[in-house]
Symmetry: C2
Subunit: 335 residues, 2 copies
């Protein structure tokens, strides 16, 4: 530590400008000096200081990720969804040297102001945000002058500097419900957490459409809380109401429900149809494996990151929108 560009310049017998040029391969310099600089740097163990570089260039090469963790303190633990997204983000970022991630975890709505300050303090180059936030916060983000790409949030459409990538949630809800109808189940529930969010409403729209087309009746079960726990509690309710199928708006909810059903000796698939949404890894690891709507979460993370990077490099403009396709994954919880 402590060896700076000046030391390298002295050692190589050139100016610091030249050293800087070599390291950023900007101005063309003779191969001779280039080698001399590199040799001096290696000899001295010189490591460029990104902090100093960030100060002068006004670019930190830091991407902030905003995660809503007001649902539960243990965001990552309880939401497999976020993990896949983050894996997708990393996979993309790793291809660009020296872009790093810094995660801002929003513990509650009142913590939003703190996150806002944090973003300013760290001077991140861009932002990736997952999920829904208060309108004021969106407005605040929009005013920061850095690109932000949302995942699973339809609101950015009304802001000039916010972009988003979402999945085709409506079609997902439709496909799931249609499959249940095709499986000859009669009383098909829609189970949801955060039911009133725009995202869930789209999934509900799909359900509604399929139900109407079949001339069936709607059965809505919505409750707030941790998805798995809600699913667990819903088992009893659905059985008492004599439902024989359920489309759950997220996998963890379906997995909780599956647990409750299995516990009561129900033969899921044969006697009760169950479809989730997300296709998290977990959904195929449980037994019986869950039939679900795949929304390519990993690719969603990749796409959002690619979009942000493109905006940063001015290959795309802010305010872009992308909707990714979904499809049904047949497994064992539907006959």
């Amino acid at each position: 530590m402590g060896v700076t560009i000046i030391d390298v310049a002295k050692e190589a017998g050139v100016s610091r400008t030249t050293v800087s040029n070599v390291f950023n391969n900007r101005a063309k310099c003779s191969e001779e000096t280039r080698l001399a600089v590199l040799a001096a740097a290696r000899k001295l163990g010189y490591k460029p200081n990104l902090v100093a570089k960030a100060l002068i260039t006004n670019r930190t090469r830091l991407i902030g990720v905003i995660l809503p963790s007001y649902i539960d303190k243990n965001t990552l633990t309880s939401s497999p969804f976020y993990n896949i997204i983050i894996d997708g983000i990393y996979a993309t970022l790793r291809q660009e040297i020296y872009y790093d991630l810094i995660i801002f975890s929003v513990s509650d709505q009142s913590g939003l102001a703190q996150v806002s300050d944090w973003i300013d303090a760290r001077r991140v180059d861009g932002l990736l945000a997952i999920g829904e936030y208060a309108p004021d916060f969106l407005k605040d983000l929009d005013s920061k002058g850095i690109p932000v790409v949302f995942i699973d949030n339809y609101a950015p459409a009304s802001y000039a500097h916010l972009s988003y990538v979402n999945s085709d949630d409506g079609t997902g809800g439709y496909l799931a419900t249609q499959r249940l109808i095709a499986g000859n189940y009669r009383k098909i529930a829609l189970c949801s957490v955060a039911f009133h969010s725009p995202l869930m409403q789209k999934r509900y729209d799909g359900y509604k459409k399929a139900i109407r087309e079949a001339g069936y009746e709607e059965y809505l079960f919505e409750k707030n809380g941790l998805p798995f726990e809600v699913g667990l509690q819903l088992g009893e309710t659905l059985l008492a109401r004599r439902l024989d199928a359920a489309f759950c708006t997220e996998d963890m909810l379906a997995i909780g429900l599956l647990h409750a059903l299995l516990q009561r000796g129900i033969r899921v698939g044969a006697d009760f149809g169950l479809i989730g949404f997300d296709n998290i890894l977990f959904s195929q690891q449980i037994y019986p494996p869950l039939t679900t709507i795949d929304q390519n979460i990993f690719e969603k993370g990749e796409a959002a990151t690619r979009m942000l990077l493109d905006i940063l490099h001015e290959k795309t403009s802010a305010g872009s929108r992308l909707i990714l396709p979904v499809h049904l994954i047949e497994r064992a919880t539907v006959r």
Copy 2:
């Protein structure tokens, strides 16, 4: 953006030193000027620039986390363990204002050099590292002059600047095996991935001890790969060899095995005893819920972070070691 400490100083009619003092509440200044500075800052929308601050103070308030992802690109997705750790880290960090996390994900052993450069470039204040690494890399980390705290790595004991927090792995293996013996199973397998790592050897030691005390025979099944997949494949093998119980050195392995067993119509618990290790959230969400060894992963993340922070604040010295207790969680996969 763009408003600096100088603007605030002008607006408040004081020097920048005073503004700096107010924001870091260092030197005592009159309440009057303090208020004036704060008012000016608010009026102008001043946000301190952590990058500039980091350059001058030589402290970035950034903690690096090193994650081994050479097992699988999708580290977070496939390893619930890491998520809990990271949640624990965040929970602790959030209590200290302006400490952030930057994650270095090691894609393969050859990527180690890159991670090393990265650490230097970002000038992180300290490091948290999870899992096992090549000896050369440990040596390299040790030489960086910043504190690093390991989780699940026994090697740091031989380095002056590396600390660690681990679980009582030996006792865990012992408790699990003992419980299986008490359940009257006769042929108890030990299933493991990364069997030759020091960590797994400790769990194996516990197994061995219990098996010997009971006068039983050892049955070792080890294979490298993704834990869940290995578990899935092991089902057939164990059944063919007429084993009637298994202690799996990690939950995801046990969950894969459980899946394979259920698929073959085995009544797990009644006819086959199964115990995992970790107590990830998943282990209680599956059906039947998994009997396992709880190692308090969340608290491990918290403890490691606390330790790092204490070293950073010179309340503890580098080279510390902490072993956390484990205990058996009774659930449904053992009779």
